[in-house]
């Protein structure tokens, strides 16, 4: 209980300055999986992207995309 709590979330991305953040969430998800593909499963860099997409994207979307990736039908440039 003596630990400091650090509050952090996905930072504002200047590539997506407007109200519509759909692309932001999608891009973070893709960046995470590309990072995994490039660097392997255990890199810290990738954990950062994972936190970002989990903060931004609704759980249902993530579940759907995970299923699509497993089926090979994910509509994005992984």
């Amino acid at each position: 209980m003596a630990d400091e709590i650090v509050l952090k979330t996905a930072p504002a991305d200047f590539r997506f300055p407007t109200t519509n953040q759909t692309r932001h969430c999608f891009t973070r998800y893709i960046e995470f999986h590309r990072c995994l593909a490039a660097k392997g499963e255990e890199s810290n860099e990738c954990a950062r992207f994972a936190k970002y997409y989990r903060s931004l994207c609704p759980g249902e979307w993530i579940e759907k995309w995970n299923e699509q990736r497993e089926n090979g039908t994910f509509p994005g440039p992984l």
Partner: protein
């Protein structure tokens, strides 16, 4: 924004719709305060113009009454007055535009990274809130549903059709990012005291950035027609109402403070509240 906060501790702010309410609810964010100030600015010019126009109208009716003044005037031009009545009404909107654009563009400025992200997902006819900042895997969000309490179940002192069973809890004086989306049809996430109104669209994430400056309980109602229970009926499966109590955010110190226990629960053991019911 609010000086001498301790003076306000015994005053109950208007953060919910009151019967026969005419004015705004009390502002809890700088954005809402800006909206109220702009309203005052515009209202000043509005009254100015209203009084002027009414005076001219009454004067004309009074002095040019057909019995008191039977011979009509035959004036058709008046260069000076025409110039004045063109220039003057174009200066007034300039005075209105200055605070208006200032507020509009300040709303869009992304000055600082948000501290916490909360997702609000609209359903027919309730809301789901997800706090996912401290997940360590895809399944561990702190998620809960928020239904309006039925009129039959309301306790003494609660607001009818505004109370919900699970409120969104949000820290005060921190920059929040609220991401709204919908699982079915259009809704709108509204908290009037915070100056928030954002349409909730399926397959789209809309971002709202606010920083609530005082603690309290804030109420809001769905503002986009979303079916039978959009407003209020007695059917079960209630309308999505949402409200957010706030607590002082003791972010990097005072971890033993009782108010930050909820934050610790969110930050540390997300597993305990993770399963969506």
């Amino acid at each position: 924004m609010i000086v001498r906060e301790w003076l306000f501790l015994t005053i109950a702010a208007c953060d919910a719709a009151e019967p026969w309410q005419l004015g705004f609810q009390d502002a809890s964010t700088p954005m809402m305060q800006g909206v109220i100030d702009l309203h005052h600015d515009i209202f000043f010019f509005l009254i100015l113009i209203l009084v002027f126009v009414l005076r001219i109208l009454v004067r004309a009716l009074w002095h040019f009454h057909y019995q008191k003044n039977p011979i009509p005037q035959r004036i058709v031009h008046g260069t000076t007055i025409e110039i004045l009545r063109t220039i003057f009404p174009s200066i007034i909107p300039m005075f209105i535009a200055i605070p208006s654009f200032a507020l509009l563009y300040s709303m869009d400025e992304v000055v600082v990274d948000p501290t916490i992200t909360i997702k609000a997902i609209g359903h027919q006819w309730y809301r789901t809130y997800e706090y996912s900042d401290y997940n360590s895997s895809d399944e561990q969000s702190l998620t809960f549903d928020s239904y309006t309490i039925l009129e039959d179940d309301i306790e003494l002192g609660q607001s009818r059709l505004l109370e919900v069973d699970n409120r969104v809890v949000v820290p005060a004086k921190t920059h929040l990012r609220i991401i709204v989306t919908s699982a079915d049809v259009l809704h709108s996430w509204v908290v009037p005291s915070s100056g928030v109104k954002c349409d909730v669209v399926p397959s789209r994430l809309n971002q709202i950035s606010i920083s609530v400056q005082r603690e309290g309980v804030y109420y809001g109602q769905c503002s986009e027609i979303c079916g039978t229970n959009h407003a209020f009926t007695r059917a079960p499966g209630n309308i999505g109402r949402l409200l957010s109590p706030l607590w002082l955010s003791r972010t990097t110190r005072g971890a033993t403070h009782p108010r930050s226990k909820l934050l610790q629960r969110a930050a540390g053991a997300v597993g305990s509240q993770g399963a969506r019911q």
